[in-house]
């Protein structure tokens, strides 16, 4: 026997270790679930970590209201199968209550508004740790964030004040009021996530695979035509065969042209892709060189 583990099983073991640490050391953890593939994989790992018991924490969906119908249907199915509690925190509620003001116009996005809703929901639920599905390979600010990321009482990330993170000895102790974001998928890449989806036979919302859809080209991305997307007068929807590489708010998540109709085809496509995942699809990241860093400092995921 060689007693060797594949890279996927090593990553899985590390993520499960992280989730069990959190369940053991925090009073009220919560898992942020968006219905995107990373949070789906994170939820799958959580289910494995505590098997045969149920998840010892609820799920929290920060809902911009601009969802793909397939994502919501998937979310509700998954929650029912696992028998877990789902909390939906709605950005619309914060808009209605006047806590945030929505931008208007064709390029309006609720992406930034999510931070207010997230922080409100964490406070209302008195959650002291929140699992997020972010990966370090996604973006340069994330490349520098710890697995246990201590945030102040405003949820803000201060890159200068990060704690050393040594071996697998995670320090989740923090001052009253402060909270911890925990990223069990920190060391996974986009390709790892897809290889794991294949290895585990994880079901995904259908929009991750090639399908015909009405889209509108904007800023170099293809945005799905949905009831949430206002069109500029000169914009004309076109029908294309597309899939989504990331799934977030429907108004700022672009599709890519693709004929990858199943997991194998997607893996082959990613392995040869020459454009990063967020570069291909996220209009919200293009606002400036440092937009992710800025949003994290405000308390973003």
């Amino acid at each position: 026997m060689s007693y060797r583990l594949s890279h996927l099983r090593t990553l899985e073991a590390e993520s499960i270790h992280v989730m069990r640490e959190v369940a053991a050391e925090f009073e009220r953890p919560v898992l942020l679930f968006s219905g995107g593939k990373d949070s789906i994989v994170m939820l799958h790992l959580a289910a494995k970590a505590f098997w045969p018991a149920r998840l010892p924490f609820p799920l929290l969906h920060v809902d911009t209201g601009h969802n793909f119908d397939e994502t919501i249907a998937y979310r509700d199915r998954r929650v029912a199968t696992l028998g877990v509690q789902l909390i939906v925190a709605s950005v619309q509620d914060d808009i209605d209550a006047g806590r945030v003001v929505e931008d208007t116009g064709p390029r309006a996005s609720r992406n930034r508004l999510q931070t207010v809703t997230l922080l409100r929901a964490l406070e209302q639920g008195r959650f002291d740790a929140a699992f997020g599905g972010a990966r370090r390979d996604e973006e340069k600010a994330r490349a520098k964030e710890r697995v246990f990321s201590v945030r102040d009482e405003f949820g803000q990330w201060d890159p200068k004040q990060q704690r050393p993170e040594l071996w697998s000895l995670y320090n989740g102790r923090c001052a009253p009021g402060a909270q911890v974001r925990v990223f069990p998928l920190s060391n996974w890449t986009e390709l790892d996530v897809w290889q794991y989806i294949k290895a585990e036979g994880i079901e995904l919302p259908s929009i991750y695979f090639a399908h015909r859809r009405l889209v509108v080209p904007r800023d170099g991305a293809l945005l799905a035509v949905t009831r949430f997307l206002p069109l500029a007068p000169d914009e004309r929807p076109v029908e294309r065969v597309v899939r989504f590489r990331t799934v977030g708010d429907a108004t700022c998540t672009g599709a890519v042209e693709s004929d990858a109709a199943d997991v194998d085809a997607v893996i082959a496509e990613i392995a040869t892709s020459r454009i990063t995942e967020r570069g291909a699809t996220r209009i919200d990241d293009r606002m400036s060189e440092a937009s992710m860093e800025d949003r994290k400092r405000e308390g973003y995921f």
């Binding site: 270790h17 640490e21 045969p52 149920r54 050393p164 860093e293």
Partner: protein
């Protein structure tokens, strides 16, 4: 089967570290077109003649604006053989803190040396920290060979110098590669410019370094992390002890002892969500079920009856102090985390401070400050179930946490 290798890089910008990482990422096709286009634009804006691959590892706005460097950035690339996690630590300032933070669980460290400048104080520090952390493999990348006309003598001189220093350290596996990160010589492809070099290119070394014997597969150690009790109709009496194997191999039927209680029993089954397994070894996360109904909780350790860890409250350890606001002194009290167990610890004695440049032991020292390393005697409020760090990096390591700020202030390695 593709395996995972954790690599730490140490060196400063001047040594060409960023260029080397950029080269590794670019030549292994881990750099995407949109990233490349961005650094191409930036290079032109800086008036550079060639695309500056160092910009790939460029930092956050906070770093640029404040002239600081965040201690460690993680980068990922893979080849068909292995997936690599690269912990990239800046070399200049706070080298000890940065490198300890980024390299604590590395399988291999790349230490960069500029061939023209030779083995400087900084290279020696990096090698020392790599040996202190017991990183099993050290690769010295002798860079900028293009600037010495790919001279074999220049390379040999650096190697000899480095080897001489390394004899004073506890280094298990030391390899030298002559490279030019700028031109790509011996990084991914073997270089035609150095026919006298008969070793492998750097990436080939990373892909093939033999790591199977790096883990301790002899001393069975299972720190109990979490007790799984479903309390459901279907699994009414289920009681499983979840954790990550820290050493050795566990099999169903093994005679085991639970510490600190000392009760002996057998392993009934090793569960995972994918079904029971016949054996569990590091770093697998599994759930052990025991044949007898014992009181086992988080922080306990399951091991073999005839191969037990040390159990004690008086501990000798090497400490790296990582905090700029406080210092370690005799009488200081901290929270201590070791495997899955928290305790409180008091510093009984600072035995010596080690000069990381000369390896001289200053026995008159009474404190450890930021970036300092020393030997310390501690007493804990409860016994730790531990091994020497040199035997097991998981059961031999701990962190100290400040009781007021809750910040992690030190890394500890048990002797």
């Amino acid at each position: 089967m593709s395996e995972l290798l954790r690599v730490a890089t140490a060196g400063s910008v001047d040594d060409g570290k960023s260029t080397l990482i950029g080269r590794l990422l670019y030549d292994s096709k881990a750099v995407f077109d949109d990233q490349y286009a961005a650094i191409e634009r930036a290079s032109r804006a800086q008036g550079a003649d060639y695309v500056n691959l160092a910009l790939l590892t460029d930092g956050l706005r906070a770093e640029r604006e404040q002239g600081i460097t965040i201690d460690v950035a993680y980068r990922y690339f893979s080849t068909p053989k292995r997936k690599f996690i690269l912990a990239d630590t800046p070399g200049h300032v706070q080298y000890t803190r940065n490198m300890v933070t980024g390299a604590s669980n590395a399988d291999l460290a790349i230490v960069l040396v500029d061939v023209r400048r030779g083995v400087l104080q900084q290279s020696r520090r990096h090698a020392f920290i790599a040996s202190l952390l017991r990183i099993p493999h050290i690769v010295v990348a002798v860079n900028k060979m293009d600037l010495v006309d790919y001279s074999r003598d220049a390379f040999d001189a650096v190697c000899a110098d480095f080897r001489q220093f390394a004899t004073r350290l506890d280094v298990q596996d030391l390899t030298f590669v002559p490279i030019s990160a700028l031109h790509g010589d011996n990084v991914v492809q073997r270089s035609a410019n150095m026919p006298w070099y008969d070793g492998a290119a750097l990436l080939h070394l990373l892909e093939n370094v033999y790591t199977a014997s790096d883990r301790n597969l002899v001393d069975a150690r299972f720190p109990v992390q979490y007790v799984i009790r479903p309390l459901s109709d279907r699994h009414h009496d289920y009681r499983g002890y979840a954790g990550q194997v820290a050493g050795g191999v566990f099999r169903p039927g093994d005679d085991v002892v639970v510490l600190p209680s000392g009760f002996t029993t057998q392993i009934e089954a090793i569960d995972t969500a994918d079904g029971p397994v016949d054996e569990a070894y590091p770093p697998m996360s599994v759930t052990l079920r025991l044949r007898d109904d014992l009181d086992v909780s988080r922080g306990d350790m399951i091991c073999r009856d005839r191969n037990r860890p040390q159990v004690g409250q008086d501990l000798d350890a090497m400490i790296c102090w990582l905090d700029e606001r406080a210092e370690l002194r005799t009488g200081g009290k901290f929270m201590l985390k070791h495997t899955t167990r928290w305790a409180r610890a008091i510093v009984r004695d600072v035995q010596y401070r080690l000069d990381v440049d000369t390896l001289h032991r200053d026995e008159d020292a009474d404190a450890l400050r930021l970036n300092e390393v020393g030997r310390v005697a501690l007493r804990t409020t409860q016994p730790l179930l531990h091994d020497a760090y040199r035997r097991n990096r998981t059961t031999g390591s701990f962190i100290l946490v400040d009781e007021a700020t809750r910040a992690t202030v030190a890394a500890g390695m048990l002797l």
